[in-house]
């Protein structure tokens, strides 16, 4: 089209848009005069304009993503059987059902016809099945995981091919991912410690073979129905070249763009620097944070903001989210999340030792450590014993004595420590004083009545 003509159309079109709709016809009549083709052109654009308000307003990537999602939803409300495998026999595996599908893999449940056991088969999504990079990644995952025979790493049995589609044969796991387990709620402290220890165990084994996972996140950690943790998805793992064909590691792992998952990435991953054991320590720390608080260490906003936050800002202190998190656990989490890798734990075993220590402490009621936080517990235990000795609980005709038990019924914050405490003769109340005043608490219900210290009085 002649550019002058086009500019004329454009001008008339915008002018017409500025005119109230009821007066547009008259406006075009005036403006276009005898040029009927100009008028028709502008009118058809104006009519399209009124229908096009939502057109192209959803970005292309989202349009396609929704399309993909719809297609997957439409298949029995479940994931679509991309490769039409269900019911077929692939190598010597009979495919039974689809278990799930993510960005880089589609997982099916299958029966191993030779060994008569159930397994999981992981294929690439159809679009990536012939993509050299994606295929290399799948192979890398198989190799990395099969190099690791470990109870807390999902076992890879084999890698095979079906009509040109490579797939991994893995142990079939039953349970949920850690992501599903957390579901925005903090886990119980003993679970946090148990899961954390098992994940670390797996990482220690991987690191021992020179394998860096690089994508530790709740969705990649599986908790079986028996409570065993399995680390999945070594698809992004970096394998020391000596452990693998140099060619494989040279043309894939290092050239991949985003290695990792943004909200869990370590600063050095974002900067595109070398990942080492301490990178996994950081991502592990982000998982530990999430297990303990039910929240992400770096809440997701736009990815650009998120990236800046990971690079420059400290995460919130976990205890500001939940006071029940032990101080030592908070310190461990924050040390894992240090920006500078030199300031983190330097190895999974070093971190593991700290966690073991914490686990031991939380289990050993017999030997409470005498610190400010446990002072009140000791005090109460003593009080209970004294009460027993004095026979306050001992009514002559109720022979068996109540068992003495240690039970923490107050917290004892540093900035407002409990000064004195006593238990009532019937064992139902504890009374204690702190800087705020005198408090009488019902041991069973936790109901507390407080007598505040008058403002102008200070006692210690």
């Amino acid at each position: 089209m002649d550019p002058d003509r086009w500019h004329r159309i454009e001008r008339v079109y915008h002018s017409a848009l500025a005119v109230e709709e009821s007066r547009r016809s008259a406006f075009l009549e005036d403006t276009c005069g005898h040029d009927q083709s100009l008028r028709r052109e502008v009118e058809s654009l104006l009519s399209a304009d009124s229908d096009a308000s939502a057109f192209l307003e959803v970005p292309a990537l989202d349009v396609l993503a929704k399309d993909l999602a719809r297609q997957s939803d439409s298949a029995d409300g479940n994931f679509q059987d991309d490769l039409q495998l269900i019911g077929n026999t692939v190598s010597h595996y009979r495919v039974l059902e689809k278990l799930g599908g993510g960005g880089m893999g589609v997982v099916y449940k299958a029966e191993d016809l030779k060994l008569g056991r159930f397994v999981a088969l992981k294929f690439l999504p159809r679009e990536l099945a012939h993509h050299p990079e994606a295929v290399a990644q799948l192979r890398r995952e198989a190799r990395a995981a099969s190099a690791l025979n470990h109870p807390h790493i999902c076992t890879v049995h084999d890698i095979d091919e079906y009509e040109g589609h490579p797939f991994i044969v893995m142990e079939l796991l039953q349970g949920d991912t850690l992501k599903q387990r957390i579901a925005a709620k903090p886990l119980k402290p003993e679970l946090v410690l148990s899961f954390a220890t098992q994940i670390l165990d797996a990482l220690e084994a991987a690191h021992g073979k020179g394998i860096i996972h690089r994508d530790i996140k709740p969705a990649n950690i599986f908790v079986t129905s028996r409570g065993d943790v399995k680390v999945l998805d070594f698809g992004l793992a970096k394998v020391a070249p000596s452990n693998l064909d140099a060619a494989l590691s040279a043309n894939t792992a290092e050239t991949r763009a985003f290695v990792g998952t943004l909200p869990y990435m370590a600063p050095e991953q974002l900067r595109g620097e070398r990942a080492d054991e301490r990178t996994d320590i950081h991502t592990f720390g982000a998982v530990l944070f999430e297990m303990s608080t039910g929240q992400r260490a770096f809440p997701q906003r736009s990815s650009a903001q998120l990236g800046k936050e990971i690079l420059h800002n400290l995460p919130p202190r976990p205890r500001t989210i939940s006071r029940t998190i032990p101080v030592q656990l908070e310190q461990i989490i924050l040390k894992c999340l240090e920006k500078n890798a030199d300031q983190r734990f330097q190895s999974a075993s070093e971190l593991g030792a700290e966690l073991d220590e914490l686990t031991k402490e939380s289990k050993s009621d017999a030997h409470p450590r005498v610190g400010i936080a446990s002072a009140i517990m000791v005090l109460l235990a003593v009080a209970v014993l004294v009460a027993l000795k004095l026979g306050w609980f001992d009514r002559a005709d109720h022979a068996p004595l109540a068992q003495a038990a240690t039970r923490q019924i107050t917290s004892n914050p540093m900035d407002d420590p409990v000064v004195k405490a006593a238990i009532s003769p019937d064992g139902k109340y504890v009374v204690y004083t702190d800087l705020q005043g005198l408090h009488l608490r019902n041991v069973d219900s936790g109901e507390t009545h407080s007598l505040q210290v008058p403002e102008d009085l200070c006692f210690r």
Binding site: D49, D51, A257, E273, G307
Partner: protein, 193 residues
């Protein structure tokens, strides 16, 4: 061995200089993002996340420009190349899918029916790509506005920055381009069916 960032940066440059092989290496990035987004829609997580199309480009930008001294000297140039890249990859993806649809796997809805059927029009990206080429022949800048807004997910201000024009111009271009393309696609879908 080159670092990851240099590698991407080189791939982008190679691609913009016409090296089709570079595209192959960049494609999985976009596909992975696409599947992640689809997965979020499927699991209903989408509403909680504010990840936009630009996320991918922002991530790249963040790493290549902010923290590395790579000679992507300005944002504008970078976004421009990324938008072309996204267009190429997404249209190829849509083309592959529509050939699957034609093979009978997936029912295909003509544009009009989708427009009537749902509140959100879902343009056929392949037809849109062709229409954009026709638009570029008439008015190059308007086709770039669409490329930047629709394929790269840039906002008006960012688009204005890339094209070195005012926000007002972008808005006017966007409005006319949308009307023009909408008309083009409606005609095509009428003629085609």
């Amino acid at each position: 061995m080159p670092t990851t960032d240099h590698e991407i940066s080189n791939l982008l440059k190679a691609w913009s200089a016409g090296d089709e092989h570079a595209l192959e290496k960049l494609t999985p990035l976009v596909y992975a993002e696409l599947h992640r987004a689809a997965h979020r829609y499927m699991t209903g997580e989408r509403s909680e996340h504010t990840l936009q199309t630009t996320a991918l480009i922002n991530e790249l930008y963040l790493r290549l420009v902010d923290f590395q001294q790579v000679d992507w000297q300005n944002r504008a140039h970078f976004f421009g190349i990324c938008a072309q890249l996204m267009r190429r990859i997404l249209v190829d993806f849509a083309r592959a899918r529509s050939s699957q649809k034609r093979a009978g796997d997936i029912p295909i809805l003509p544009l009009d029916q989708e427009l009537v059927g749902s509140g959100e029009p879902q343009p056929d990206l392949v037809a849109l790509d062709d229409a954009l080429k026709s638009l570029a022949a008439v008015d190059e800048r308007k086709s770039r506005v669409v490329e930047l807004r629709f394929f790269a997910g840039l906002n008006v201000q960012e688009t204005a920055e890339v094209l070195r024009v005012s926000c007002e111009t972008v808005m006017r271009d966007w409005k006319l381009a949308k009307a023009w393309l909408f008309r083009e696609l409606s005609q095509e879908s009428r003629n085609g069916s």
